[in-house]
């Protein structure tokens, strides 16, 4: 790296436009409130972002494979409610695998519809968004779920525990990001995901089983959702039926903000993580500034657009496009 030429630096910057945007926001918020970068606050933001982040990791696979997943929000509500309910009925040691099994079934079902039946992923997952919400409400009878004995269970460790001074949700997020990052970047399966998303027909003719790749992406996404539901349930030890409502759009925003193309074929786990952190820090930064909340919605949008613009500008080397 020491002997990097000017052109190399330029290329590096071009690839990391989103990192530059991230740095700009961090500096801006820190100037506005010096506590923004205090360890407590940073830790708090990353911990709250971990749930969104874990979900975004799975959705990154789906998006790179050229599909969408709008069902992750309701699916997260489902897994949270199920694990809380089963916790008091059959104990945490059985409740967790049972919840994972049920959530993976939902993912497999979506994967089957999109992968093997080749149905449009937008329609399938949009439908599943409300179908799973209905399933959750039917399951719970609409009631809030609460763990009755909050002291006498080890279940709290996933959301509230910490190891080596780092909150467990952050550790889970980091470990999962590393694992999925390696799967995506270094394994044959990862390359197949890019191939299917980049050019599905070409991938099929190269002998890639496209349906199976898409199917596995949705199963992976469901796995991440189950992990997120586990963290969420453990963090609050009780939940409303709508806990994940609307999260699917934040997740998608984080993935796209990280630079994954909605058309498929590009994106990385690392950039998704940056996208998640940008969203988390924007939300927290605006709260710390104390902006009136009606304005916050607008400002959030402006910042996202700025980030995407900076990213694109860095890639093409100028702020404006010549071909309009």
């Amino acid at each position: 790296m020491a002997s990097m030429s000017k052109a190399d630096i330029g290329r590096f910057l071009a690839r990391q436009g989103i990192l530059i945007a991230f740095a700009v926001f961090i500096i801006g918020f820190t100037l506005a409130n010096e506590r923004f970068l205090s360890p407590d606050n940073v830790m708090g933001v990353v911990r709250s972002s971990a749930i969104l982040g874990v979900m975004a990791l799975g959705v990154t696979f789906v998006v790179i494979s050229g599909n969408l997943d709008l069902s992750v929000g309701s699916m997260m509500s489902f897994s949270t409610i199920v694990v809380l309910d089963l916790h008091d009925k059959i104990g945490p040691a059985l409740a967790i695998p049972a919840m994972f099994a049920m959530t993976l079934c939902l993912g497999a079902f979506i994967g089957f519809l999109v992968g093997y039946l080749k149905l449009n992923s937008l329609i399938v997952t949009l439908g599943m968004l409300s179908a799973i919400h209905g399933l959750t409400l039917t399951y719970s009878g609409g009631q809030n779920m609460d763990i009755v004995d909050k002291e006498g269970t080890w279940f709290a460790v996933f959301g509230q525990g910490s190891a080596l001074g780092i909150p467990v949700p952050i550790l889970i997020f980091i470990l999962l990001a590393a694992l999925l990052g390696i799967i995506l970047a270094k394994t044959p399966f990862g390359r197949k995901v890019y191939a299917v998303g980049g050019n599905g027909t070409a991938a099929t003719f190269s002998g890639i089983k496209r349906a199976r790749v898409v199917f596995l992406c949705y199963v992976m996404s469901a796995f991440c959702v189950a992990v997120a539901g586990l963290i969420q349930a453990s963090r609050s030890m009780g939940s409303q039926n709508t806990v994940g409502q609307g999260l699917e759009l934040d997740v998608l925003a984080a993935v796209i903000l990280g630079g994954a193309s909605l058309l498929g074929g590009s994106g990385t786990i690392f950039k998704t993580v940056i996208g998640v952190l940008i969203l988390g820090f924007i939300q927290n930064g605006l709260l710390l500034i104390g902006l009136q909340f009606y304005v916050q919605y607008v400002v959030t949008w402006v910042i996202i657009i700025l980030a995407v613009w900076l990213d694109i500008a860095a890639k093409r080397g100028k702020l404006w496009s010549n071909i309009a």
Partner: protein
């Protein structure tokens, strides 16, 4: 209350009185339609729906059409139109939005179907089209929460320096606006030296409120009180304070006492709230509709009482089921 509104309501009910007596013979059971805000979003609304259906089933003169808007204004307006088409005898609406549903309420009014607004009122521009409002008085609830908090500060001897943050309900939602107004107006009256440092919305969501409170704790070194628009959000704030080891010395006051809030009060972590029963709420709404159809006169604002509950008097109340 506006005199004109009162007269309109009286005239409407008087006209119905004549028809009321012969009603049951000519038409069979009274048909009452309800479009609810968002069943399942919290246990209050779920319990409300169950209590409403139970009350209707217990009364064989009544037949109900129960609908749920899922929090969606457009769907609620469509449901209002469906109920008007079905020519029900009265419509109960739990507004998803105090402003946006006014045209639909007006349409029902033009079709001579009396409308009962339940739980949270619509905006004043629509009052002329509403026969009666049945529900809690959210402004009074906000005021009472302010009084609970102020009394507690006086007991602790910090009424001259205490600093309070507020976590409000969903922006644009009438209940949220009214509770906030009640609290904002009453606090300086009873405790003029207490500072309300900041208000941010928790969207009726425990997890969101936890995040908001985390940010407050980073931002302010000194917080003595937290007012949350309901206990669900209050408990989210409490969780954040507990995790940061700062819950000691913070007075948490909410509204709509949920079981999680009640339990936190039992543990001594949460100071007080406003006791509001969804069963009373649902039964009051159904009774209002029945009364209107039978031609009884009702006041325009038909409140049921929602008393203060704190750690001191909580044994007088049964634990909420939601």
């Amino acid at each position: 209350m506006k005199l004109r509104t009162f007269l309109t309501a009286t005239a409407a009910t008087a006209a119905l009185t004549a028809a009321g007596a012969a009603y049951a013979d000519a038409h069979g059971p009274m048909r009452i339609g309800i479009t609810q805000n968002n069943v399942g979003v919290d246990s209050y609304q779920t319990t409300y729906e169950k209590a409403f259906i139970a009350a209707a089933e217990a009364n064989d003169k009544v037949e109900v059409v129960v609908l749920d808007a899922g929090g969606d204004v457009a769907r609620q307006i469509a449901q209002m139109e469906d109920l008007i088409q079905q020519e029900v005898d009265a419509i109960i609406i739990w507004p998803t939005n105090g402003e946006a549903v006014i045209p639909a309420v007006r349409k029902a009014h033009s079709a001579d179907i009396p409308v009962v607004v339940t739980n949270s009122n619509i905006a004043e521009a629509g009052f002329d089209f509403v026969a009666t409002f049945s529900g809690p008085d959210n402004i009074t609830q906000g005021s009472r929460s302010a009084e609970i908090m102020c009394d507690r500060f006086k007991a602790l001897g910090i009424e001259d320096e205490a600093r309070v943050v507020q976590i409000s309900g969903q922006p644009g939602y009438t209940t949220a606006i009214e509770r906030q107004k009640g609290f904002d107006d009453r606090l300086p009256e009873v405790c003029p030296n207490v500072t309300l440092v900041e208000t941010q919305p928790g969207d009726w969501n425990r997890e969101k409120s936890q995040q908001v409170m985390e940010a407050f704790l980073v931002k302010y070194d000194d917080i003595d009180g937290v007012y949350a628009g309901d206990d669900n959000m209050g408990v989210g704030a409490l969780n954040a304070a507990l995790a940061a080891d700062r819950a000691e010395g913070i007075t948490f006051v909410g509204a709509t006492n949920f079981s999680v809030g009640y339990e936190a009060m039992e543990r001594g972590e949460y100071w007080g709230s406003i006791y509001q029963s969804p069963v009373d709420d649902a039964e009051a709404a159904l009774q209002s509709a029945i009364d209107l159809i039978s031609g009884k006169e009702l006041p325009f604002l038909n409140y049921f009482d929602t008393p203060k509950i704190t750690q001191d008097n909580m044994t007088e109340f049964t634990k909420p089921v939601f």
